[in-house]
């Protein structure tokens, strides 16, 4: 590496479209679910980028596409200066030890037939790290200490642990390879409140001690804001706003961010009674058939007759934030007032959250 860029990860115009297939014997493509539709973002070294949005917004798909676990349809992902999308499979496999993932459901992301030792050894073996059995044991023991699991865990199986401990196993699995980047997809949402805090703190500590770079994907704005330096808000496959964590809370610029922020319940009666809710009408439109222009205009209380419906806003810089809204300044200054929006019926695409999982992924049962 001749020069080290400030950013470990740079994503340019990333698109992930899943074909919708119909027909039994002769499949034909009848459309595309645009799970991720043109996202730019950069993650500085040693920092945390939080990606927040509701189910179906494409945040999980973005995380997987970034790690090349789902092949992107278009766009570039550069990791430490290496363009991942053009990498040969063997080279990509070797790169994987530098970028790891933590999953939402610690139970389903751990093979129920592997004990903890085997779970932690697998990655080391795949990359030939640690040399012999003893060398690997040493690395594994150190990793267990880092995540706060006892030694006797090694011979145990995932189903013998509590949810919080399982997530620690998942974190240990990611950590054991000594990665620089960790993509955490909903790392705490399957856990109980009191356990969530333990895991959030653990992630914080690990970052402090190991200088990790995180991409944290979650639907819980409070969690994301708590652990992120920069937060990106996604709506229907695109980033609508990106801002430093504190700024996003104090000065949300995009109407969707405002609505999202106002919808998150705060465990404080005084705050709850004072705040004004921006209630959005209706549901998230289908990513197979997104609205024209600004994706949010069908539900936006500030939508204007001009531009919103026919011109897709791009992210632009406003006072330290990046926001994709034609009228962000006028809304911030109070020049534009919110109006009532009537709900449109939105047909569910199927069951589940991420469209990538729901409706015909490009390759059924793909290992990738």
């Amino acid at each position: 590496m001749s020069e080290q860029s400030e950013f470990l990860v740079e994503v340019r115009d990333l698109k992930v479209h899943f074909p919708i297939k119909r027909g039994v014997l002769f499949e034909r493509t009848v459309g595309h679910v645009k799970a991720v539709d043109g996202v730019d973002l950069s993650i500085p070294r040693g920092k945390t980028y939080g990606l927040v949005g509701e189910s179906g917004c494409g945040k999980s798909t973005l995380g997987r596409a970034l790690l090349q676990l789902t092949p992107p349809t278009a766009g570039e992902v550069s990791f430490d200066g290496v363009e991942l999308t053009k990498l040969a499979p063997g080279k990509l496999r070797a790169m994987r030890k530098r970028m790891q993932m933590i999953f939402q459901d610690p139970m389903s992301s751990l093979d129920p037939r592997q004990n903890v030792e085997s779970i932690l050894t697998e990655g080391l073996q795949a990359h030939g790290i640690g040399g012999d059995r003893d060398g690997r044991r040493k690395i594994i023991a150190e990793t267990l200490d880092k995540v706060g699991l006892p030694r006797w865990a090694l011979s145990r199986y995932p189903h013998e642990f509590s949810g919080g401990q399982r997530q620690r196993i998942g974190i240990a699995r990611a950590l054991v390879l000594g990665p620089e980047l960790i993509v955490a997809d909903e790392p705490v949402s399957a856990l109980d409140v009191s356990i969530q805090a333990q895991v959030v703190n653990l992630l914080d500590e690990l970052q402090d001690n190991l200088g990790l770079t995180y991409l944290v994907i979650a639907h819980d704005l409070a969690v994301v804001r708590h652990i992120s330096d920069t937060v990106g808000v996604m709506y229907l496959g695109g980033l609508v706003e990106e801002a430093p964590s504190d700024r996003l809370y104090t000065e949300p610029l995009h109407p969707y961010t405002r609505a999202l922020m106002s919808a998150v319940p705060v465990p404080d009666p005084d705050v709850e009674d004072r705040r004004e809710r921006i209630l959005l009408a209706g549901d998230l439109p289908s990513p197979a058939n997104p609205p024209s222009g600004c994706r949010f205009h069908t539900r936006c209380p500030w939508a204007q007759p001009t531009r919103c419906a026919d011109e897709r806003p791009v992210l632009r810089e406003i006072g330290g934030s990046r926001v994709a809204c034609h009228f962000a300044e006028q809304i911030a200054s109070g020049e534009l007032r919110p109006h009532k929006v009537s709900a449109e019926i939105v047909r569910p695409e199927g069951e589940g959250d991420e469209p990538g999982v729901v409706s015909a992924p490009s390759e059924p049962g793909s290992f990738v």
């Binding site: 795949a126 990359h127 006892p150």
Partner: protein
């Protein structure tokens, strides 16, 4: 403020210790399934029935009182007046229509029946798992070629599946000529599509699971993922199905023998053939039909009970 101390603290720490490490080794899923199996009465009944059946089939033929093919009491059978000697001291189950000892024939027949059932199931399991495994792995690997391989194999399986199973078995038996081997092959072929579809479906479901994605993101090679994660986690339903197939294989083999497509060597008794032979004498000596029928029913039931119990024991959803 007095914080916890002394004896009570000791007790708490000891309890915590106990809770944490009540057993030193971890319990794998298989071990736990076995544990659950042992607690299930249906499994115990099935296992006992099968145990008895196995012992009879293996050691029985060495202990039988009479040679099963010897027509020792032929002279006593009076077909014209409808008399076949029944149960008595020297023939516990009586004598069959040509004067052979029915008890000895039942015992020796048990071995044949078991042999047909096990070999037929093995054929089905082996061929079916091979096809299903390749199709499942191909579908899992994805890509144009993967999908093509999967498609070709599965359409072949669909063809097999489209034919009524007994008809398929009869056709195979007719082509290969009547023999015990034919019965095994025919019955085995019938169960091929079941195993193939089951393993493929199970593998595809596992390929979509998070831990496979996790292994991919660790940088584990695809073939290793298929062998280390996908296949082992897909086996449970196949094992259950094999146990259940043993029951149907025994019944189907009996049916083929009954139709005269099975064992053509009259000297080796087999329950299905015995049942077929007995039909002409059903009003004179119904026991000649009832005994082999009971044998088939009880063993099939034993396998079914055990299979169902295994299904419950291996079902991850029923795990507490």
């Amino acid at each position: 403020m007095t914080l916890i101390s002394g004896k009570k603290k000791e007790r708490i720490d000891r309890l915590a210790e106990l809770a944490a490490r009540d057993d030193e080794r971890g319990v794998s899923l298989w071990q736990e399934a076995l544990r659950r199996l042992r607690r299930n009465p249906a499994a115990i009944v099935g296992a006992v029935v099968l145990g008895v059946f196995l012992v009879i089939a293996i050691v029985g033929p060495f202990l039988v009182p009479h040679a099963p093919e010897a027509q020792l009491w032929k002279g006593e059978v009076r077909e014209n007046i409808g008399y076949i000697p029944g149960a008595r001291a020297e023939n516990w189950f009586g004598v069959d229509h040509i004067g052979r000892d029915e008890f000895s024939r039942m015992i020796v027949g048990a071995r044949q029946t078991l042999l047909v059932g096990v070999v037929a199931t093995m054929i089905g399991l082996a061929v079916g798992s091979l096809i299903g495994g390749i199709a499942g792995a191909a579908a899992g690997l994805g890509g144009r070629w993967g999908r093509a391989v999967d498609n070709v194999l599965m359409r072949f399986i669909d063809m097999l599946l489209a034919m009524p199973s007994l008809l398929l078995a009869i056709s195979i038996a007719a082509i290969l000529g009547a023999s015990l081997t034919t019965v095994m092959i025919a019955v085995g072929t019938v169960s091929v599509p079941v195993f193939a579809r089951l393993l493929r479906g199970s593998m595809i479901a596992q390929s979509n699971s998070d831990y496979v994605l996790a292994a991919t993101s660790l940088g584990v090679r695809k073939p290793k993922i298929a062998l280390a994660h996908v296949v082992p986690n897909s086996l449970a339903p196949v094992i259950v199905q094999a146990t259940l197939t043993l029951a149907t294989a025994i019944i189907e083999a009996a049916a083929l023998s009954f139709l005269g497509l099975g064992n053509n060597d009259a000297s080796i008794p087999e329950w299905g053939m015995m049942l077929a032979d007995a039909q002409r004498y059903i009003d004179i000596a119904p026991r000649l039909a009832i005994l082999p029928a009971l044998g088939i029913i009880i063993t099939a039931l034993g396998f079914t009970l055990l299979g169902e119990a295994m299904r419950e024991a291996l079902d991850p959803k029923l795990r507490k």
